[in-house]
């Protein structure tokens, strides 16, 4: 299992959080934590997502990026780590 931290900026639509959560689960990533600032009235929502998976993170980054409301997805390498479990 690998742990990853994603930094996502999105158009601040009400449903954007739900879309991210749905894609994350469907693509085989377990959410281990999140920190979201959405519906802020600024048009920009920011979501920090901690996920865990056997799968390479690029798969999830590409799929989240495909969501129409997403502006940017970055993997925070300093916070991501490999667990030898």
């Amino acid at each position: 299992m690998n742990n990853y931290q994603l930094m996502i900026t999105a158009d601040d639509k009400q449903v954007v959080l739900e879309r991210i959560l749905q894609v994350t689960r469907y693509r085989g990533f377990l959410i281990s934590g999140m920190n979201a600032k959405v519906n802020t009235g600024t048009n920009v929502g920011t979501i920090e997502l901690m996920v865990r998976s056997e799968r390479p993170i690029e798969l999830l980054v590409d799929q989240i990026n495909k969501l129409i409301d997403i502006k940017e997805v970055k993997v925070d390498n300093s916070a991501s780590q490999q667990c030898i479990a």
């Binding site: 449903v15 739900e18 879309r19 749905q22 469907y26 690029e58 798969l59 590409d62 799929q63 990026n65 495909k66 969501l67 129409i68």
Partner: protein, 554 residues
Amino acid sequence: MTTEKKLTGASLLFNVLEQHGVAHVFGYPGGAIMPIYDALYDSDVEHFLCRHEQGAAFSAVGYARASGKVGVCFATSGPGATNLITGLADALADSIPVVAITGQVATAAMGSDAFQEIDIFGLSLACTKHSFQVTDINDLASVLHQAFAIALEGRQGPVLVDIPKDIQITEVNGCLDELVNLQNKVKLPPANVGSAIALLNQAKQPILYVGGGVGMANAIDELRDFAKITGLPSVSTLKGLGAIDPEDKYYLGMLGMHGTKAANIAVQECDLLIAVGARFDDRVTGKLNEFAPNAKVIHFDIDTAEINKRRIVDASILGDLKVNLPALAIPLAIEAWKKVCLQMNEDFAWDYNHPGESIFAPAVLKEISDKMPENSCVTTDVGQHQMWAAQHMVFDDPSNFLTSAGMGTMGFGIPAAVGAQVSRPTDCIIAVSGDGSFMMNVQELSTIKRFQLPVKIVLIDNAKLGMVRQWQDLFFNGRLSETDLADNPDFIMLANAFDIKAQMITKKSEVSAAIEEMLEHDGPYLLQVKIDAQENVWPLVPPNTANDKMMEST
């Protein structure tokens, strides 16, 4: 352009539809969408009443696939909306541009478990490319414009717009925005042509693997030029059929689970696989880690997320095929390999010899294919008959073969044919169905009757859920479970009840005359073709097996 006139949301919807060139919609009315149906009354958009919302969704899909335009369907809230879901899922799996409009209960009632309220917006997340719920009338026009743009941009797909009833009746200035042209949101890196050219030049046994993306990108000419200039032998996915020039003698047919022996062996032996608008689906690859085991891969696609999803590639060429294919079209020195492929095409050609009097479905479909007029469009349902159609019919364009590929949805064929016929009223539309699938959207015969659509239905009748029966025989020790349909209705009487002329044939000697009668008939026609229940689709690559270890007819 802003007009002084006040419009209701419902009227504005039709103005925007007309602005996008929508001439036909498929749908079914109900309480929460009544204002929209009221505005339909005054609109020039032609509405086709289907007899189930799933039929409306598939008709929109068939319309889009046959014409290249966006297909539009309407449904009311609650059960109307949920009935659309299978069609939307089908459109998502096959990347088909559809805009679905659903009525919703009034905003004040939303979230109160109101009558016919379902959270279709929530349900849409997994089965659409994108979705909207309009809660402010001032957003309606721009949301609808975005819906059309998103359905068409990049990798196409279905978009749902949920419109609460109060929004439909609220008045707004009749403002028609300029059509927006969304640019591809994901900025694609410039195609890495150099490394791909090097791979092409090094390859001794390359194969072109053609997917549905070629048709979706409208890049048929570019693909055919690419195949001609490079001289590459090619194979196709189910959804890619029709993209390669059917006269190309180095075209080896469909690959994958029911692919030709030539296509599967060539791919297994190739040293370079050039995937174009294809996604390494499990029905194509068989056992993934034994698929094309010696091949390097070049992958052309519009969708970044398909690159390295199931197969790590050596070069990716992201972007528009119309631009990228010509950039890589260079002559290749692969004469020896081309000869091998040609020889395989000869050695493994289909054999239509079939003993006995009972009808051989592959031969029937081949004969229809040979006799049908130019520009005919064939739809299928799902099962053995679908695979036989894919194997034995020849198509010169992907928009002439509409089949539920990614989702494999039974019930697709008849409503898709309705949509295809509406979009191409003068072309011959043939639905190849099975006795199981036919019954899944049989109510759409009523739509055929209502609009006098001259759809030809070829019902391959084995009185079985044949494909499942085949698997039970081969992989479940012949324990046949719930696949017998001996109690099917009288299909001739059923067709006649919808004013559809029908004929049943049971013997080889009847086939040719029956096909001619069907093709010459002016109106809708059902040809019921009785076949032996024990016929199987060959070749077959068993599940989780490499594609060269196929089972063949004995």
